[in-house]
């Protein structure tokens, strides 16, 4: 379990990185925290000629707080968010979720951009960011584009990253003061990837109510208008419609009844958590 020989560069800016990535004669791989790429290199599942380490790029380590959003550079680490070095406009949602990702050693290095692009369906950022309505910004030879995170994730380990592109930032909407969220990760041991995730946001002032079934076999199942899961009641948990939730995950491609059961339960618990908040 040792990688093949590869060359290594650590450019100083995004343009420099893009120049290396544009090279299509050699197999090039971007490395951020290396927490997912490292094992894949060691198992020789990827055998690049060149590794472009992007953690030396200042722009990707920036956080910009705006009126209604915050923009995280791709190389902000899980620990940056956990420790509050990066501002949190989500009423604690991101910080809480960060704390439950892997182990501290992984969080010290693992980045938000790397986690999303790796596109492991069980990754925590993907589910919570989809619930919050985040978008990702990609830059490449044709310039920049921004898309909702759930569109970026195309399937298991498959992100919509075009040749020559890299993810530069993640934009997260600021929640209003009355917003409530819930996040439930079902896993068997601390630091393990999830077997089911429920993520939920209700932000009446902004007229947003979103739910996510995460840790599926593929893309997260996003319910953009999640009010219908709550029945008529204004108290979220009282009327959680488990049958509808079950239909939604089934329609989302989940055939196994036990899988559906734990995903529905995870979401219901997230909704209850939001109700209690």
């Amino acid at each position: 379990m040792k990688p093949v020989n590869f060359d290594y560069v650590r450019p100083r800016d995004v343009e420099g990185a893009l120049r290396f990535i544009a090279n299509d004669e050699r197999a090039v791989k971007i490395m951020a925290g290396g927490q997912s790429l490292g094992p894949m290199l060691n198992m020789r599942l990827v055998q690049p000629d060149l590794i472009v380490d992007i953690t030396g790029i200042e722009e990707l380590r920036q956080v910009e707080e705006k009126n209604d959003t915050v923009v995280f550079g791709a190389c902000i680490t899980h620990a940056d968010i956990e420790d509050g070095r990066a501002p949190d406009v989500t009423r604690g949602a991101l910080r809480t979720v960060a704390r439950g990702i892997a182990y501290r050693a992984v969080r010290n290095r693992g980045t938000i951009g790397g986690s999303i692009t790796h596109a492991d369906p069980s990754a925590d950022w993907i589910s919570i960011l989809a619930a919050l309505g985040a978008t990702v910004t990609l830059r490449g030879p044709e310039g920049s584009r921004s898309i909702p995170i759930e569109n970026y994730i195309m399937g298991a380990l498959e992100a919509d990253l075009r040749p020559g592109e890299m993810l530069v930032s993640v934009t997260v909407p600021r929640l209003s003061a009355a917003a409530r969220w819930g996040y439930y990760k079902s896993c068997r041991k601390t630091g393990e990837f999830a077997h089911a995730i429920g993520a939920f946001l209700i932000d009446p002032e902004r007229d947003v109510c979103r739910a996510v079934f995460g840790a599926t076999e593929s893309r997260p199942i996003v319910v953009a208008d999640a009010r219908r899961l709550l029945g008529d009641s204004s108290a979220p948990s009282a009327g959680f419609d488990s049958r509808l939730a079950d239909e939604l995950v089934e329609a989302g491609g989940m055939a196994d009844p036990i899988d559906r059961q734990i995903h529905v339960a995870a979401l219901r618990r997230a909704v209850e958590q939001a109700g209690a908040a």
Binding site: M1, K2, P3, V4, N5, P39, M43, R44, S186, R188, K189, T190, G191, E192, F193, H195, A196, S242, R243, A245, D246, P257, I258, R260, Q261, I262, V264, A265, A266
Partner: protein, 797 residues
């Protein structure tokens, strides 16, 4: 004769571990820390398939000097671990595969390069021409006629079948009869440090030197010498610090033989450090048992008989030295556990499958046996409507029966099993749990309480092993004790510590007898060149056997020192006595320092008739009876089961343990905690799965789950002390016990929690999915959709 004044360092003292000074500072030396000039790295080409015919192994011409294949290994013998039990079919485990491969990960070629990465590059260039054969990965299927055959000449896939019947007929019309099919998953041992070997040929000594983290250096030397056709003096095994063994590091691996063979020819050191993928998929497999077991009882819970068919998945080969039938054949003899009942029948099969050889793992067969037996006892209790502990109390061997020969003629040396159970039941507070269960939990979870009791036969010796006829039969355990000129002491033993703290505990024993400061007593172990022959560390034997040998040797040293002391004090031998590190006579005393100085450096002060043995002895030891010590424990646990997600949380865990005299209680607690963690792994997390073609499905710790610190509860631990009648100080072996009971305890607690559904979980690990499947298949619930879950929550609201 030597007498002792209490110093707080002897037997019974919770002395801090001497080895921790280097280990906790990161200054230990493990195989992978060893750097030798010119050393090269090895990577193996391994079989990618579970079963196939080897049609060709193509090595590019330019790599011929750096790649070794089976044809190169002229004169090297395959590994054979034969059992003398009647009907055993031996297997040849090839060093490098030639005609056939029989498991994923089997060695096919060895590649040598300056780094492991480059060696892996070479491995990728070796082309294999394998004809895939149907594989059999399910032991019950492998037992059936018509199953694909691993070793064609056998005619079936059965290493060994055994059968015992003691008066079974008499129990068959008992009023209560419960039958269960119970199984434990295949596991991987997963010590922190995997296997690894550094090998070189020492020209000056004319010796093949092998550094390898090893529990049994002398046994591995014998096995290696036989495979390579060397004299024993031409092989030296050095086992440096060992980062956990659990049985895996007792085994002679084909990798060792390959490296040894190459090191004899290549003129430079070579090393192989097992990586985690190799460890999980190709090496350290264990535990997989299947039971079809029936318990017979009368209506008040008295056990009348046990009838069992047990199958053990032994994997592809019989591994050295314990053989492929250690587990199954032990099952037959230890299944009755600490219960006294009149009828017993057990048939066992050790079955060959296209998987890694099964290796003895901490607790060996006992974990599966305890799980099967204790689940059946609880099932009987439910059947007769009694509390499970009441059923157990009716059937456990009683203290007044000790020593007790049970139905399989196991000789229980001592103990009060009912008392251990009563204490555990009191500590876990069963009535309080029953009261709690009567009310719904606010979070909707289900509470269960369970317990189990087991005995751990340890340090079983010649009389037990002679009958097995495997390559290794333990005899007298030897120790060398020798005083140094400054009055210190060296102890040399052939067992090796892979976490047992022997650098601390064996000196404590010598201190107890000689009064020499523990800091001045050095343990030398882990090197065949420096230590007396021993079968090594396994079977919870080190404290009893090596400890007993150290005690015996220390007493000899005491006598010798008294002899010299008497000369110096001009007294008669029967007028002197060694007390607290000095020989005391009628008119004064002389310290051990002075005695050692005189013997080694001032011999002119000794008379002609002085005992020529000086201050050095090597002597063997056996307990008064070598049928083994019987430590035992009762464990009890409270769990909460989440019926929606299937998660199981351990809320409380109690252990009441009797290990006889504890040499160092802190060390014993550590052994029990560590074992408990592994037992919880067996119960809830660890599982090595295979697909239909025999491919192992877990190749990293992302797929093979181990419990971590947050999954292990802090157990409440109580000790009882019934001295073993046959051993030095009354010590009993306790090294494996912690790992034996947890699957049974947690299984019984989970089944208690799930009683309302009328279902039981009978397979480890008890994963969320297995919990949920059991609930969904429950006979008492018709509606199984999400609505039903919602309704169920309503029941508690």
């Amino acid at each position: 004769m030597a007498a002792q004044v209490s110093s707080g360092q002897g037997v019974g003292a919770s002395l801090q571990r001497k080895e921790d000074d280097r280990l906790l500072r990161g200054r230990g030396q493990f195989v992978a820390d060893i750097r030798l000039a010119g050393m090269k790295d090895v990577a193996f080409v391994r079989s990618p398939i579970a079963h196939g015919r080897v049609r060709g192994v193509h090595v590019p011409e330019e790599l011929r000097d750096r790649v070794v294949v089976a044809a190169d290994l002229e004169g090297v013998k395959p590994i054979q671990a034969v059992s003398g039990l009647q009907g055993f079919k031996p297997s040849d485990q090839p060093i490098l595969a030639y005609e056939k491969v029989r498991q994923v990960g089997e060695l096919i070629a060895m590649c040598i390069a300056d780094t492991r990465a480059h060696a892996e590059d070479l491995a990728a260039l070796v082309e294999l021409d394998l004809e895939e054969l149907p594989a059999v990965h399910d032991m019950l299927a492998a037992r059936q006629p018509g199953a694909p055959l691993l070793h064609e000449q056998w005619g079936d896939n059965i290493f060994l079948e055994t059968f015992v019947d003691v008066n079974m007929e008499a129990a068959l019309d008992a009023p209560i009869k419960v039958t269960r099919e119970i199984s434990t998953a295949r596991q991987s041992m997963a010590p922190m440090e995997g296997r690894g070997t550094v090998a070189y040929w020492d020209n000056r000594m004319g010796q093949l030197v092998l550094y390898t983290g090893c529990q049994m250096p002398h046994i591995v030397r014998t096995g290696l010498a036989e495979c390579l056709g060397l004299d024993h003096h031409q092989v030296r095994i050095i086992s440096p610090d060992v980062g956990g063994g659990f049985g895996y590091k007792g085994i002679l691996l084909p990798e060792d033989v390959c490296l040894g063979w190459f090191a004899m020819r290549c003129g430079h050191p070579v090393r192989w450090i097992e990586d985690r993928r190799e460890h999980l998929t190709a090496g350290a497999n264990c535990r997989e048992h299947h039971y079809r077991i029936t318990g017979y009882a009368d209506r008040d819970g008295r056990l009348l008989g046990i009838d069992c068919e047990a199958t053990v998945d032994s994997g592809a080969y019989s591994s050295y030295p314990f053989s492929a039938c250690l587990e199954a054949a032990q099952v037959a003899s230890i299944l009755p556990g600490p219960y006294d009942f009149p009828s017993y029948r057990c048939r066992t099969w050790s079955v060959a499958t296209n998987k890694c050889p099964i290796l003895p793992y901490r607790g060996v067969a006992r974990t599966g046996v305890c799980y099967a037996m204790e689940l059946v006892i609880d099932a009987i209790a439910r059947e007769v409507g009694m509390e499970p502990h009441e059923v157990r109390l009716k059937n456990l061997v009683r203290p007044e029966q000790m020593p007790f020969d049970n139905i399989t003629r196991k000789h229980f040396d001592s103990g009060d099993y009912p008392e251990a159970l009563r204490r555990a039941i009191a500590a876990i507070d069963v009535p309080a749990i029953r009261a709690r269960q009567a009310r719904p939990e606010p979070d909707g979870r289900l509470i269960g309480v369970g317990h189990a009791i087991y005995c751990e036969q340890g340090a079983h010796g010649t009389s037990v092993y002679a009958g097995w006829g495997i390559p290794m039969v333990p005899g007298h355990e030897q120790a060398t004790a020798r005083m140094t000129p400054d009055g210190g002491l060296e102890l040399r033993v052939g067992v090796h510590s892979h976490g047992q703290s022997m650098e601390t505990t064996l000196p404590q024993i010598a201190h107890e007898i000689l009064g020499i400061d523990v800091a001045k007593i050095k343990l030398v172990h882990g090197d065949t060149e420096y230590t007396p022959y021993s079968t090594g560390s396994w079977g919870s034997r080190c404290a009893v056997m090596a400890g007993g040998a150290v005690a015996t040797a220390s007493r000899e040293i005491a006598k010798l020192a008294e002899g010299i002391g008497a000369h110096l004090l001009q007294a008669k031998i029967d007028q002197v006595e060694l007390v607290g590190g000095a020989v005391v006579g009628p008119s004064g005393s002389v310290t051990l320092e002075e005695i050692a100085r005189t013997w080694y450096r001032r011999p002119q002060n000794l008379p002609d008739g002085v005992d020529p043995r000086g201050l050095e002895v090597t002597i063997g030891h056996k307990p008064v009876r070598d049928s083994g010590t019987f430590s035992y424990a009762a464990h009890a646990a409270v769990v909460a089961v989440d019926p929606e997600l299937g998660d199981i949380e351990i809320l409380d865990y109690v252990i009441v343990e009797d290990g006889g005299k504890l040499i160092n209680p802190m060390v014993v607690d550590g052994q029990i905690f560590g074992g408990l963690a592994q037992g919880i792994g067996t119960a809830l997390y660890e599982e090595m799965n295979f697909d239909a073609s025999g491919q192992p499905l877990a190749s990293t710790f992302a797929d093979y789950l181990l419990p971590g610190p947050t999954e292990i509860p802090a157990p409440r631990l109580e000790h009882m002390e019934t001295l073993a009648p046959y051993t030095e100080f009354g010590v009993k072996g306790i090294g494996e016990g912690g790992a034996i009971a947890p699957p049974a305890v947690i299984g019984n607690a989970v089944n208690d929690a799930l009683k309302r559904y009328g279902v039981e979980l009978l397979h480890t690990p008890m994963t969320p999915r297995r919990v949920l499947e059991a609930i969904r298949n429950a006979p008492v619930r018709e509606d199984r959709g999400p609505e039903a879950m919602e309704n169920m929550r309503g029941e508690f609201a």
